[in-house]
């Protein structure tokens, strides 16, 4: 039972850190644009596909660096020649633009790579069990994922809190007019933020592709949960995104291990259980079964209790 708990926690951490790599970029871009970027998960998908193709010709390790750079460049171009023009026409136009980009990317991926899942595999060097406990194995690749994600996290926080560039970015997010007055090129800051955010999503794709699968629906599958993370954490807040990512990662994976249902819980507490009637399904549903629903439940609860999200400053 102990190893089950430990492995659930580890898996939750890996998944949570992966979510953070996606949501950190998304939440920064939100802070900048004021609207959600629907195309964010598409950059994640592009990262995986780029790495798959590059990995076939060069190797996994150069691809790990090149693919995010390519995706980041693409993101910067989208901002420079797409979003910046659309920005003039207000939030609705921006929202629809990012939505269009998301659909476009999915279609292009299907055209170029086809619909079946690609067998994008983790490098052979990392294809061993890092450690074993009872019959469970913790794959080295997951350890590597965790390492990369923690590295990115430290890097982001370092840049934001310790460097001049971070200062300017933070100021541009909240007071773009003032920063421009001081002689900084705010549109370029935005382009860089968008590019870096996309590159992070791309990197998440590169390292998640071998574990979560590389197929045209991968953006859709992860996209919704990333929005949940960003909204729970508070739109625009990096700390919030971090905490919400970890929380959702751990909650979702450990809930799977719990076979408790309302009925069994009530019975173990000695309460009389009415097992029949119209509500019989409700009594029998286990926490494990509703695990994938929990993040959305949490989202609703957070929005009711604290509409700004955990660390956000504006209403969502």
């Amino acid at each position: 039972m102990l190893e089950l708990a430990l492995f659930s926690l580890l898996n939750g951490l890996v998944f949570g850190m992966l979510l953070f790599m996606l949501s950190s970029g998304l939440t920064l871009i939100f802070g900048m644009m004021g609207v959600l970027n629907f195309a964010h998960a598409s950059f994640y998908m592009l990262g995986a596909y780029f790495a798959y193709t590059l990995g076939a010709s060069v190797d996994f390790w150069p691809a790990l660096l090149l693919a995010p750079l390519l995706v980041g460049g693409l993101g910067a171009l989208v901002e420079r020649f797409g979003l910046r023009r659309v920005h003039r026409f207000g939030h609705v136009a921006e929202l629809i633009f990012t939505f269009g980009v998301a659909i476009l990317v999915e279609e292009v991926v299907q055209l170029v790579w086809g619909r079946p899942a690609k067998s994008y595999e983790a490098p052979a060097v990392l294809d061993f069990a890092l450690f074993r406990l009872a019959d469970n194995a913790f794959p080295a690749y997951k350890g590597f994922m965790l390492l990369v994600a923690v590295g990115i996290f430290l890097f982001l926080f370092g840049v934001f809190t310790r460097t001049r560039a971070g200062l300017i970015i933070q100021a541009s997010l909240t007071h773009p007019g003032m920063v421009a007055m001081l002689g900084h090129n705010v549109p370029r800051v935005f382009m860089v933020v968008f590019g870096v955010g996309s590159a992070l999503a791309g990197l998440a794709g590169v390292i998640a592709g071998p574990v979560l699968g590389t197929f045209p629906g991968m953006a859709q599958v992860l996209g919704s949960i990333v929005f949940v993370v960003v909204v729970i954490g508070g739109l625009g807040s990096l700390t919030g995104a971090f905490i919400a990512s970890l929380a959702i990662g751990v909650i979702q994976t450990s809930a799977v291990a719990l076979d408790l249902s309302l009925g069994t819980t009530a019975a173990s507490l000695g309460l009389p259980v009415d097992g029949g009637g119209a509500l019989q399904d409700l009594w029998r549903v286990t926490i494990a079964q509703v695990a994938p629903m929990l993040p959305y439940l949490l989202l609703v609860l957070v929005l009711i209790v604290r509409p700004t999200g955990l660390f956000g400053t504006r209403e969502t």
């Binding site: 039972m1 190893e3 089950l4 492995f7 659930s8 898996n11 939750g12 998944f15 999915e106 299907q110 086809g114 619909r115 079946p116 899942a117 690609k118 067998s119 069990a129 074993r132 009872a134 019959d135 469970n136 194995a137 794959p139 690749y141 997951k142 574990v211 979560l212 699968g213 197929f215 045209p216 629906g217 859709q220 599958v221 992860l222 949960i225 979702q252 994976t253 450990s254 799977v256 291990a257 494990a288 079964q289 695990a291 994938p292 629903m293």
Partner: protein, 416 residues
């Protein structure tokens, strides 16, 4: 212009029209709708199915078509959503297409089957036939059966009966974990497993009976850890599409070494994902010869021809060939595309499929009766691999048709 002259021209025009019309009619293709996922997480499965249908249709067309008409497959994307499927069904009916194939997801199948039955009862003039090539919830041909639904795949109970026979013979298995997608098919598999194991091997303990949301789970590692913690020494799963790929990946990574008994753990990315870790460990129950080690000649030719056209896809549903050819034969016999007449012609129809098996459409419940095969994932003696991975399925045992047949439990109401 005199009255007589005008009358003559009128007659001439009519004659020309009458002469042209049948010609134009016979050039009209027989349209067959295909409603399945062509986008989203299950797109790979739907897309490959569509290619196999078109491949089978092309063969029929090259041989002269049906009633002198070509067969045309018209695809409709339902995103495996029952609601979306009903919208697509309206389009099919609106376009006057008399036949529709669907297979992916029994949830969708129930929605379509219900809607087709209601439509046909209310609109005798525009009836359509629902040909189900893959949705295997037993209820579709049992309590929910109706005259306008035909199933060309063995249903979940038939397959489970075969699987449990194999498990019964394996004395090493003492604890079994059942995991599946949370919808009608996943539940049907779980119920059948519990019931049949209870009868055949009461000593086996079901240590887990898990349902997870379909198409929503990103990482199966927590489920795999739970299976390991349960101490199971075999797993039964009906997972398909991305859910099977990801379950296989997580099992490999998490160090789960026990045998898997599956319904759909092959092709469309699954075989590649399982790879070397699944050799001699993953077993599959299905309705066709797996193509290895010695494929019957018609099947071998069929696979080789398909591979030439679609190098990255596999023939993983040979029943598609059976279903389309039986429909073509029924249309020929009925001499029309009228749904009632074709349905009547399909009842009791016999056919020899690509595996060389003699299959028959049981009139009592419109379930195709066929032998069932059990194959194992391996790279030894594989001539026709899946996913170009070098791995494929190899025949292990075959349950003959009469042994694989379960009694019909349908009260069929036929249109008077």
């Amino acid at each position: 212009m005199s009255k007589a002259k005008r009358g003559l021209i009128g007659v001439l025009v009519l004659a020309v029209v009458a002469w042209l019309a049948p010609g134009a009619m016979s050039a009209d293709p027989i349209r067959v709708a295909y409603i399945d996922p062509l986008s989203g997480p299950f797109a790979a499965t739907g897309e490959n199915g569509l290619k196999q249908f078109r491949y089978a249709a092309d063969q029929i067309n090259r041989a002269g078509g049906v009633l002198g008409r070509q067969v045309e497959i018209v695809p409709f994307d339902n995103k495996v959503s029952p609601q979306e499927s009903l919208i697509q069904l309206k389009k099919v009916i609106g376009d006057g297409i008399p036949f529709l194939f669907q297979g992916n997801s029994s949830g969708v199948a129930h929605a379509i089957s219900d809607a087709v039955q209601k439509h046909n009862e209310r609109n005798p003039g525009s009836r359509v036939l629902y040909l189900n090539y893959s949705a295997v919830d037993p209820a579709l041909t049992n309590e929910k059966c109706h005259f306008w639904h035909f199933r060309f795949d063995a249903h979940a109970d038939m397959k489970m009966a075969a699987l449990t026979d194999v498990i019964k013979a394996n004395a090493k298995i003492k604890k079994i974990y059942v995991i599946g997608q949370d919808y009608s098919f996943g539940k049907a598999v779980a119920d059948a497993a519990v019931k049949m194991l209870g009868q055949k091997r009461p000593d086996i303990q079901i240590v887990g009976n898990e349902l997870h949301p379909i198409g929503k789970v990103k990482d199966f590692s927590p489920y795999v850890q739970k299976i390991i913690a349960s101490g199971a020494d075999a797993v039964i799963t009906g997972n398909w599409g991305a859910d099977m790929v990801n379950l296989a990946k997580a099992a490999n990574d998490g160090g789960l070494k026990v045998p898997f008994y599956t319904y759909y753990a092959a092709s469309d990315g699954v075989t590649a994902a399982i790879g070397a870790a699944g050799v001699d460990r993953i077993r599959l129950v299905h309705e066709s010869h797996p193509g290895n080690p010695d494929a019957p000649k018609p099947l071998a030719d069929h696979i080789a021809g398909y591979k030439k056209l679609h190098a990255n896809n596999d023939i993983n549903q040979a029943r598609i060939h059976t279903a389309l050819n039986m429909l073509a034969l029924a249309v020929k016999k009925a001499g029309s595309t009228d749904a009632d007449k074709v349905a009547a012609a399909l009842e009791g129809m016999e056919w020899t499929n690509l595996s060389g098996d003699h299959v028959v459409m049981r009139p009592d419940d419109h379930q195709l009766l066929m032998p069932i095969y059990i194959s194992v994932h391996t790279n030894k003696g594989i001539k026709f691999d899946y996913d170009n991975s070098g791995f494929g399925l190899s025949l292990e045992s075959k349950i003959e048709r009469d042994k694989a047949t379960l009694p019909a439990a349908c009260t069929m109401k036929r249109p008077s």
